[in-house]
């Protein structure tokens, strides 16, 4: 009886760790090469290419909160950031009352900077590469 319980718990433990390992999002930013935000569910397009580390080095972006911004009382907080929190935690696919919808948030963030700097992709297929 005891042995079986131990075996059961051990088995469950293994199963849970495998599951968490499988379900865990890419766990280090070096690993990100593209963004397939799971919040979108059924996708229309291939994942957007975005090699996190390499991109920010090339583009010489120092501050994390250029992208991982934090708002408090409707105002952007300059010296804090929200990395570790997904965009989709605040920007919803179907849109919300206070924040712009998720797809728009991504497009606006990525494209507006590329347009301003005249560097980086601005057409659909350059980001959503097959």
């Amino acid at each position: 009886m005891r042995k079986r319980a131990v075996a059961l718990y051990a088995g469950m433990g293994v199963l849970i760790s495998i599951l968490t390992f499988m379900l865990m999002p890419a766990y280090s930013q070096e690993d990100i090469v593209n963004l397939a935000d799971s919040a979108f569910g059924d996708r229309e397009r291939p994942a957007a290419v975005f090699a996190h580390e390499e991109h920010n080095e090339k583009a010489e972006i120092e501050e994390c909160n250029v992208c991982h911004h934090l708002y408090r009382g409707g105002n952007k907080v300059d010296d804090e950031s929200s990395e570790g929190t997904n965009c989709s935690a605040c920007h919803y696919v179907e849109g919300g009352d206070t924040t712009r919808p998720l797809m728009k948030a991504y497009h606006e963030l990525c494209k507006s900077c590329h347009q301003e700097n005249k560097a980086g992709p601005v057409t659909c297929g350059e980001c959503h590469r097959k």
Binding site: E44, R45, M103, K104, H107, E108, K111, V122, T123, C124, G125, E126, R129, K130
Partner: protein, 222 residues
């Protein structure tokens, strides 16, 4: 290059498109002559005009459509795809939203992909019809094929761009140019039937509605 074709050139081509069509409509109406046409264009003709337009917009609505069932099906599919895909395409709506803050319902990309294939079938049907139907062949010149090519080009290049065949950026730029070429061509070519269809249906509808028994209840819609 992309910046130019997706910026100023869009304005220029839509400008030519709208102003050109306005000029075509105005000159059509100005060109009407009740003495030469022997039609008293008057308010009495409005029901006939409206009827003609509506019935010709419905598949098999008019006698002309009923007489040519295959052509009717082919041309309706062709036109529905031609207008539907570009207007309800997600990508076009995203761009419209980004530049003007407006957008409407969209179809999914995979739906658009299928409809585009159906459109190609309709184009091939229209080409074959011009070749095999002797009545139509007699009237057909290279110009007709050119017009069809102008209408099909944005779809062919759009399909290629979506599937990222060949060099994506180049194909995308060609796609945008093809769309702009079509917009500019509309007022200057037979493609002006985009609006002149309504003018000529209204004119004929008035004629039939006033002169040919239309006022006495014989409401056949040719």
């Amino acid at each position: 290059m992309y910046e130019f074709v997706s910026g100023p050139l869009v304005w220029i081509s839509f400008g030519i498109f709208f102003i050109g069509l306005l000029v075509r409509v105005i000159s059509y109406i100005k060109g009407l002559d009740w003495q030469k046409d022997r039609v008293a264009y008057s308010a009495a003709g409005i029901p006939g005009a409206a009827k003609s337009i509506v019935y010709w917009l419905i598949p098999f609505g008019s006698q002309g459509w009923k007489n040519n069932p295959f052509f009717t099906i082919g041309t309706f599919i062709f036109h529905i795809c031609l207008l539907g895909v570009p207007i309800f395409l997600l990508a076009h709506n995203i761009l419209l939203d980004e530049s003007w803050g407006i957008s409407w319902w969209t179809i999914s990309d995979s739906t658009a992909d299928w409809i585009t294939l159906i459109f190609f079938v309709a184009v091939i049907f229209l080409v074959i019809r011009r070749i095999v139907n002797p009545n139509v062949r007699l009237l057909t010149t290279g110009y007709d094929y050119l017009i069809l090519a102008i209408a099909a080009a944005p779809f062919i290049t759009g399909y290629m761009a979506y599937h990222q065949w060949m060099d994506y950026k180049t194909i995308l730029i060609i796609h945008i140019l093809c769309g702009e070429l079509m917009l500019i061509a509309i007022p200057f070519t037979k493609l002006s039937h985009f609006v002149l269809f309504f003018c000529s249906r209204a004119q004929l509808g008035m004629d039939y509605g006033i002169k040919r028994g239309g006022r006495y209840g014989r409401g056949i819609c040719w």
